[in-house]
C-alpha cells in the first residue's frame, strides 16, 4: 500500500467517524428534555400568561413539531453545509460565534503551546540525561506542582497578586486593544502562565520518561564510545526516537489540557474565547452553540489523530502502511 492510499483510507475513516459523531449528537439532542421550554413556560405562568400557548409557538418556531426524520435530514444538511444554526443566547450564527472566539483562545493558547512544547521537552530531556541530580529533582517538583495545582484557583491567586495587589495587569480583559500591543501582552501574560504551567508539566514528565528509555540504549552507548558530541547524542540519538510517542501526547493530551484548561482560564480572566463560549452555551442551554462547541474539538481530534498517523510515518521510517 502506498502512502497516498494509506492517507486516503485514514481520511475516509475520519469522515465515517464524523458522521457517527453527528448522528449521536442529533440523537442526544432529540431525546434530551428541553429545559429552555420548561423555563419559558414557567416565566409565562408567573406573568399570568398561558404557558401552553407559548409552548406551541416555541415548538412551531423551532420546527420541533416536525417528525424526527425531517428534523434529522435538516440537521445533517445544515451540518454539511456549515450552517450550524443560530445561537439564541448570542443572537448570531454559531459559526460566527466560533469564528469570533477562536482568535481569543489562540492569543494565549498558541504562545502557551509553543512555550510548553519547547520548554517541556527540553527540560524533560535534560532531566533524563541528568537523572537523580538536584536539577532533576527541581524539575520533577516543578512538574508535579504544575500538575497538582488547580488551574482555577491558581488563576485567581495570580490575578489577586498581580492585578489587585500589585496592579501590574488589568483585571478586566479588554477586547478592544490591538492584538500585537503591549496592553494585550499585559492582559495575556497570566493566562499564558497558568496554561503553560499545566501543560508543560505533563510534557516534561512524558519526555523524561520516553528519553530515559534511550539514554542507556546500545546505540547511544555506541555513539558515546565513538566520541559523538553530547548535544548531538541528545538531539539525534535520544530525542528523535523519543519524539514518536511524544507526538501522541502533543495531539491528544495537549489538546485535552488546553481545551479543558481554557474553560477555567477564560472564565476567570473573562476572555471571550472558545472555553468561555462553550461554558456559557452549556450554562444557558444554547443547544446549537453547545453542539458547535462540542463538534469543533471532536473534529479537531479526528483531524489531529489523522495528522498524527501521518506524522508517525514521517518520523519513524520503521512504520509501514499495513498492506499485509
Amino acid at each position: 500500500m502506498s502512502m497516498t492510499t494509506y492517507i486516503l483510507r485514514r481520511v475516509a475513516w475520519a469522515v465515517v467517524a464524523s458522521l457517527i459523531v453527528l448522528t449521536l449528537t442529533f440523537m442526544l439532542l432529540y431525546f434530551t428534555p428541553d429545559t429552555q421550554l420548561a423555563e419559558l413556560q414557567f416565566q409565562a405562568a408567573q406573568a399570568g400568561d398561558d404557558p401552553s400557548e407559548i409552548g406551541e409557538a416555541y415548538e412551531s418556531y423551532y420546527g420541533y413539531d416536525q417528525p424526527i426524520h425531517v428534523q434529522y435530514v435538516d440537521f445533517m444538511g445544515n451540518m454539511l453545509s456549515l450552517d450550524w444554526g443560530w445561537s439564541e443566547t448570542r443572537a448570531q450564527p454559531v459559526t460566527t460565534a466560533i469564528a469570533d472566539a477562536i482568535p481569543y483562545s489562540m492569543m494565549y493558547g498558541v504562545p502557551s503551546v509553543i512555550i510548553s512544547t519547547v520548554l517541556g521537552i527540553a527540560i524533560g530531556l535534560y532531566s533524563a540525561t541528568n537523572q537523580y541530580t538536584r536539577s532533576d529533582y527541581a524539575a520533577t517538583f516543578f512538574a508535579f506542582f504544575g500538575l497538582s495545582i488547580p488551574d482555577f484557583w491558581f488563576a485567581i491567586i495570580l490575578l489577586v497578586i498581580f492585578g489587585v495587589m500589585l496592579g501590574w495587569v488589568p483585571i478586566l480583559f479588554d477586547t478592544s486593544v490591538a492584538v500585537f500591543s503591549l496592553e494585550n501582552a499585559q492582559q495575556l501574560i497570566l493566562p499564558i502562565i497558568v496554561l503553560t504551567l499545566s501543560s508543560i508539566a505533563s510534557l516534561m514528565r512524558y519526555s523524561r520518561a520516553e528519553a530515559l528509555e534511550y539514554v542507556e540504549a546500545e546505540f547511544v552507548k555506541t555513539a558515546k564510545a565513538k566520541g559523538v558530541e553530547g548535544r548531538r547524542i541528545l538531539t539525534r540519538h535520544i530525542f528523535r526516537p523519543a519524539s514518536v510517542p511524544l507526538a501522541t501526547i502533543l495531539v491528544g493530551d495537549l489538546l485535552g489540557i488546553i481545551l479543558v484548561s481554557s474553560y477555567l482560564i477564560e472564565v476567570v480572566y473573562g476572555i471571550p474565547g472558545l472555553g468561555m463560549l462553550s461554558f456559557r452555551a452549556i450554562i444557558n442551554q444554547d443547544t446549537p452553540l453547545v453542539m458547535g462547541t462540542v463538534l469543533l474539538p471532536a473534529f479537531l481530534t479526528i483531524i489531529g489523530n489523522l495528522a498524527q498517523d501521518v506524522a508517525y510515518t514521517v518520523l519513524d521510517p520503521r512504520i509501514d502502511y499495513g498492506d499485509s
Binding site: 401552553s52 443572537a91 448570531q92 469570533d100 486593544v177 500591543s181 503591549l182 473573562g270 461554558f279
Partner: protein, 606 residues
C-alpha cells in the same frame, strides 16, 4: 482643563486603544508607554455576571437585554421611584373607566435609516401584527400581555388601547410600560412572510440600526459575552424638549438634567462571569457599578471610594410546601404548614445567612408596598412567632391520627417510622444551600428528618415544578398549564418532593392583582397544589376590575392576610439588590425602581 463631570481614570477608552495599536512600534524605540500619563475619561462601565442574549426585544425581555436596549432606545414611558408615570416616547392616559387608555406620542421621534418619524401607525402595526400575530409567529414574549386587547390608531401620533376588562393598574403592567417598538417598514416583509427567524437574524434588529434619536446613546459595538458599548447620541430627542414638556412633579434641576442627558460620552456593559473578578474590578476602579453578592459585601464595607447601596427588590424567596399527591399528605392541613413555618427562624436567615441584606417576609408583598397592611398579616418565624415548642404542640394537635412523638421527641408516622421530608433546592449559590440546610436543622427540632436534593434550576423546573395529570385525559376537570395540570389529587411532578427552596417570585408591588397567577387553585404558577378555603378568584377579580382605590386596598389587605394565615408556602424573605457604585457616581438612590432616571446620572463635580 478637566471638565466638571469627568473623572481621572486609568480605564479603557479610544486613546488607550490607539496607544495599543501603535505600542508595538513605540515600545521598541521608547522601551515602555508613559504609564503615569493618566487621562480624563467619562465612560461609565457596568459589570454583569452574564451578557444579554439578543437585541431582539420581541423575543427576549430579561434584565440584561433591557438594560442594554435602554441605552439606545428609551421606551414608551417609565415609572418613577414615587410610582409616577414619566413619559418618554409617549404619555398614556385613562379615559375614565380604567378600560380604555389613550397613548400620545411625542412629535420629535425619528427612526434611524429611512424609516422616518415614529407614528401611532408603527405601534398599532407592531401590536396587531407581531404581539397579536397568528400563532405567535415571531415568538413574541409579550403575546400574552396583548391577548384580548383591542388597539386602534386614532391619529397620526395617537392610538387607543381598549382592555378586555377594566384594570386600573394597567399603566403599571409591562404591556406598554417599558415597551419598545420597531418601524413598520422594517417589520412588513417579515410579517408578510411570517418569518420570525428572519426578523430575529436581521442585522438592523441586532445592531439597533433603527434606533435613530430614540435613545440617549447610539449603539457602537457588541462583543458577545464580553462588552456592549454605546456612545452619546447628540440627537437625543430629550435634548430638544422644553420645560413645559415635562410633568409638573419633575423639578427644574431634573428637567435640566434630562435636557442635557446623557452626561457620559460612552456607556458600556461588561459581562464577567466570575464574582471575584467583578469585585476586584470594582475595588480597583475599573468599573463604576456592579451587583455585589451578600457574601462579598464585607470587603467593601467602610471603604470611602465605593458606595454600597441596599436597593429594595420586589422578589420574595419562598419555601414551597408540596400539597399535591406526591407530597407529604399532612401538608394539606393549614395548621401543619403553620407549625413548620413557626419552627423556622427567619431572623437568623436574614441577619446571618443573608448578612442583613434582606427583610423577613410574612406574606406575598413587601412591607414597603402601599398594599401591605400589617394589621391583617399573621406572622410566623419572627420574634414571638418563632416558637419551636408551640410549633410542636400545634403539630401534635393537627396531624392525622397515628402520628405522634416518641419519648426522644421524634415525630413518628402511623407506621412508627420517623417522618422524613425531602427538601429540593436549587444549586448555585452558597446562601441558598446554607439556608436550605439551616431550615432542615430547624425542622429537625420538631423531630422531622429532612433529606436534601440539590438540583440545578433548569432541572428543578421540568422535574419538580411542572406536573402532569396522572389519570385519564377524559377525567381531567381542568388544567392551569404545565405547572398546574389539574387538581392536586390527580396531578404530580415527575420527581417526588415535600419542601422546595430556591425559587424567587415577583410580588408585583405596583400591580398586585397580577399575583393571582399564584394564589388561586387553578393559577398557572400554583405548582405546589394550594387550595384556598377563601374564594381567592373572586377577591382577585374585585382587585382587577374595581376603580375604587379604597375597595382595592381593603381587598388586597384581605388577600395578603389570608395568605399569611394559610401559609401555602413559607414566605421566607424579601431580598435586597446590593449594588456597589464608585463613590463619585451621582444619581443612584436606595429606592425601589431607582434606575428610571439613569440617563441623568453624572460623575460628582468635586
Amino acid at each position: 482643563m478637566v471638565e466638571n463631570n469627568k473623572r481621572y481614570r486609568t480605564g479603557i477608552n479610544r486613546r488607550r486603544v490607539l496607544q495599543g495599536l501603535t505600542a508595538a512600534g513605540v515600545i521598541g524605540a521608547a522601551g515602555c508607554l508613559g504609564s503615569d500619563d493618566e487621562e480624563t475619561d467619562d465612560t461609565y462601565t457596568v459589570a454583569d455576571g452574564t451578557d444579554a442574549e439578543s437585541m431582539n426585544f420581541i423575543q427576549v425581555s430579561d434584565n440584561n437585554t433591557n438594560n442594554r436596549l435602554a441605552l439606545v432606545m428609551d421606551s414608551a414611558y417609565t415609572v418613577t421611584s414615587d410610582d409616577q408615570i414619566f413619559p418618554l416616547w409617549m404619555d398614556v392616559e385613562d379615559t375614565g373607566d380604567a378600560q380604555v387608555y389613550v397613548a400620545t406620542l411625542r412629535d420629535n421621534l425619528q427612526w434611524g435609516g429611512d424609516y422616518g418619524q415614529m407614528t401611532a401607525s408603527d405601534w398599532v402595526y407592531m401590536i396587531q401584527e407581531v404581539h397579536q400575530g397568528e400563532g405567535n409567529w415571531a415568538l413574541s414574549e409579550a403575546a400574552g400581555n396583548w391577548d384580548g386587547t383591542h388597539v386602534e390608531e386614532t391619529g397620526e401620533l395617537e392610538f387607543q388601547i381598549e382592555l378586555e376588562n377594566p384594570n386600573a393598574d394597567w399603566p403599571f403592567e409591562p404591556d406598554l410600560w417599558g415597551s419598545y417598538c420597531m418601524p413598520q417598514g422594517l417589520l412588513e416583509p417579515y410579517v408578510d412572510a411570517q418569518d420570525g427567524e428572519g426578523l430575529d437574524q436581521d442585522d438592523e434588529v441586532q445592531e439597533l440600526a433603527y434606533a435613530g434619536n430614540l435613545g440617549a446613546y447610539t449603539f457602537e459595538r457588541w462583543d458577545r459575552d464580553s462588552e456592549f458599548v454605546a456612545v452619546r447620541n447628540d440627537d437625543y430627542y430629550m435634548n430638544e424638549l422644553d420645560a413645559d414638556d415635562f410633568p409638573d412633579y419633575i423639578s427644574d434641576e431634573q428637567v435640566e438634567a434630562w435636557q442635557n442627558a446623557p452626561s457620559f460620552t460612552e456607556f458600556s456593559y461588561q459581562a464577567i462571569d466570575e464574582d471575584s473578578t467583578r469585585m476586584s474590578a470594582l475595588g480597583q476602579g475599573e468599573i463604576e457599578e456592579t451587583n455585589i453578592p451578600s457574601t462579598r459585601v464585607e470587603q467593601f464595607e467602610g471603604r470611602p471610594d465605593v458606595d454600597v447601596m441596599e436597593v429594595p427588590y420586589s422578589y420574595l424567596t419562598i419555601m414551597a410546601y408540596n400539597q399535591r399527591m406526591n407530597g407529604w399528605e399532612e401538608l394539606r392541613t393549614r395548621e401543619v404548614r403553620q407549625a413548620l413555618s413557626m419552627a423556622i427562624d427567619k431572623v437568623e436567615i436574614t441577619e446571618n445567612i443573608l448578612r442583613g441584606y434582606a427583610e423577613v417576609a410574612h406574606t406575598f408583598q413587601p412591607e414597603w408596598s402601599e398594599w401591605y397592611d400589617e394589621s391583617e398579616v399573621t406572622q410566623f418565624g419572627e420574634g414571638d412567632s418563632y416558637d419551636p415548642d408551640a410549633a410542636r404542640d400545634l403539630l401534635e394537635e393537627n396531624l392525622s391520627s397515628g402520628y405522634g412523638y416518641d419519648s426522644d421527641g421524634t415525630l413518628l408516622d402511623p407506621d412508627g417510622e420517623q417522618v422524613t421530608l425531602t427538601m429540593v433546592y436549587s444549586r448555585g449559590t452558597e446562601t441558598t444551600a446554607t439556608t436550605a440546610e439551616f431550615m432542615g436543622d430547624e425542622l429537625s427540632d420538631l423531630g422531622i428528618e429532612v433529606e436534601f436534593d440539590s438540583v440545578t434550576f433548569d432541572q428543578m423546573i421540568p422535574n419538580y415544578v411542572q406536573n402532569s395529570w396522572q389519570g385519564d385525559e377524559d377525567d381531567q376537570p381542568w388544567t392551569g398549564g404545565p405547572n398546574n395540570d389539574g387538581p392536586r389529587d390527580g396531578s404530580a411532578s415527575e420527581e417526588d418532593w415535600d419542601l422546595m427552596y430556591g425559587i424567587n417570585f415577583n410580588t408585583y408591588p405596583r400591580t398586585p392583582a397580577a399575583t393571582d397567577a399564584f394564589w388561586t387553585e387553578q393559577a398557572p404558577t400554583n405548582y405546589f397544589g394550594y387550595v384556598p378555603d377563601a374564594d381567592m378568584a373572586s377577591l382577585f377579580s374585585t382587585v382587577r376590575t374595581s376603580a375604587d382605590q379604597s375597595e382595592r386596598q381593603e381587598t388586597l389587605a384581605e388577600i395578603f392576610g389570608i395568605l399569611s394565615e394559610d401559609q401555602p408556602v413559607n414566605f421566607v424573605a424579601m431580598g435586597d439588590d446590593i449594588i456597589g457604585y464608585q463613590g463619585y457616581v451621582d444619581g443612584p438612590e436606595e429606592e425601589f425602581g431607582q434606575a428610571w432616571d439613569r440617563h441623568t446620572w453624572a460623575f460628582d463635580e468635586a
